[in-house]
Subunit: 269 residues, 3 copies
């Protein structure tokens, strides 16, 4: 199964992944990027955003803790990566929660060509122009059971010409033509801060190693996060959040194609 | 014992707790907020501070790593929460250590109505207008044994009409009328960065779930931190700081009313 | 062996170490500073950089996530520490990766007198004015095997009149006269974000406790990091990155002079 081997491409190519991201979960993002075999660099100054994007194999823009200075750097880095041909991944954290986030997300989407956008269902619904029930940075409960996640992902992917990944109990990844459903993962992942951000960083690592296969890269990244969550829960979930977190980083750093293939609950929609 | 049940209210209500806090310990703050059953959102842009405060059940302002932009957001968020009737919690990290921190603390106290202020004895003495021996962000040794902690807490609580929580070997919580003493905790908590900040985040979670009982909420939050520290020490303290930290997050995520009741060393002053 | 006892001086004196550092690894830096027995304070506002530097026993400047505001604070804090006679330690993270980092590093070196500069071989080669193959924040592979690391360290130490520490498979510490080689450590340290930054923070702790012996302080700090990495690997390396990280913090917090002496692979060049 070719898709599972994309993890070996990450470990072989060690893509440099430029992050402009939030300061809450940045350490976990750097550590999962290293854990999956890529190399993270975090740099958010206007003065160097283009330089750093220009030497990177992928750029991750995450608006978890936004301010005018970093929002401007996101635009600069995104455009520089577009020019250089490096894929750009967007995590619209908290889209729908404030006018400022909404305007920033809109500006980024209109000025930067994204390879992949990953969010929870509330964030993606907001991006798609639909009414959403976002609760801060978590998905609203009324949104989670929405049966139309697949349609939203598919039509938004077509409209923006990029891969859309909606993560939740069932993850949905669509490029507008193909749509994959992933039933891996564990509910305990929602009890740790940053598991969404980490998933986006994994997408950056995978798409940096496989820039011409953004759909497959996103599927394999989302799969990796879910399966690592399952392995971590089996090992340490009963102990509590701190042990689960360490086990999650253990699992990501130990993941390989064979494990992905064995554990994947992947289907086509 | 009604006070211990406040933890169940946090887990049932899952209050959204808006933090404007430092980047050193922010990840631990987000994780304890999740661990105790609430939902954290960190947002420090001037442009969205009022919006985010307006959708939150509590606001936590922590001046650990301050700058003019975030200080301004603290004022905006604090006032917005005051208007909306959501409780605001203040952690005057390092008060006394620089003129800038002192001025910022004074401005916040004069313009925002706080529900709870939590600090170490040096910080609270400084806020109370007393000479203190703060050593950076840790309490000065000459301050720690001060027998007049209870009087300081009580009179400052009266003056500012808010709950004052002084944490240390013995924690003191006072609303000016009632004063509680808590002898839980473990000295090893001082060997980890951010255990004070995490305690303040727990106060935010508890007071967000029980906004009309800020004294009881603060007592139960401080108790939770201390008891989690004891449980973590029993489990992993001998192993060193890294294991102790993971065990602390485990303990917070597993805490319940029965455990609090069994282990509380709580008395009235 | 006097050098190993410097760790006991850190634990006895508990120097306050002011950090202006990046938000990716700042929590680990604070925790290793506490773990080794010192006291960290992170403060990057222009408004308080001089005040905080003025009460500290050492200042650590780390340019991992730089912006004009924090770069200015680095200059302010560095100069204030120079005036006060407190040692200043520099970590030129990512030097060579962008024009902005290069200019900032040059400005800091020309305006601040450093006690110790610690970096990987690519960063130090860049600082020394040599062509380097830096890959983001990691050393370039063409640089790592460079046999002339010792010469670079020695001549740069002479030129800048400070201690140069190059960390890698073999660590090199030179003050221009004496040069020490350290063969401790484990390759798994490169799989965690921030182990370089943590090493620099340890240098800050050691040099804050022993300001008149910056060479010995830097040697003992680098030794401590390497030996802690070995102990952590033995204990938890097989489990993966998360467990290794916790074990690394355990090891640092448990380190003592006897362990350093027993495990040191230290030689004179």
């Amino acid at each position: 199964m070719k898709i599972f081997n994309l993890i070996e491409k990450v470990r072989a190519k060690k893509p440099l992944v430029h992050h402009i991201t939030n300061y809450v979960t940045v350490n976990d993002c750097a550590n999962v990027t290293l854990g999956i075999g890529a190399s993270p660099i975090m740099a958010d100054a206007n003065e160097e955003a283009a330089d750093i994007a220009g030497i990177s194999q992928a750029v991750v823009l995450n608006m978890g803790t936004l301010n005018p200075r970093t929002a401007r750097s996101m635009l600069i880095a995104g455009k520089a990566a577009n020019l250089a041909g490096a894929p750009v991944v967007f995590d619209p954290v908290g889209a729908g929660a404030s006018a400022y986030r909404n305007e920033t997300a809109a500006a980024l989407i209109s000025e930067v060509k994204f390879a992949v956008i990953r969010g929870n269902i509330s964030e993606i619904k907001y991006i798609a122009g639909l009414k959403s029930e976002t609760k801060g940075v978590d998905a609203g409960e009324g949104d989670i059971d929405s049966a139309d996640g697949q349609n939203i992902a598919k039509s938004l992917a077509k409209r923006l010409d990029c891969v859309i990944a909606i993560t939740g109990a069932t993850d949905i990844v669509s490029d507008g033509e193909k749509t994959a459903l992933i039933k891996n993962g564990h509910s305990m992942l929602a009890n740790l801060t940053g598991t969404g951000c980490m998933c986006t960083s994994l997408v950056g690592a995978f798409v940096g190693a496989s820039p011409r296969a953004p759909f497959e890269a996103a599927v394999c990244a989302v799969l990796s996060m879910g399966i690592a969550g399952e392995i971590a829960y089996e090992k340490a979930g009963e102990l509590g959040n701190g042990s689960f977190r360490a086990a999650l980083h253990d699992a990501i750093s130990k993941l390989d194609a064979a494990t992905l293939e064995k554990k994947a609950k992947l289907s086509e929609a």
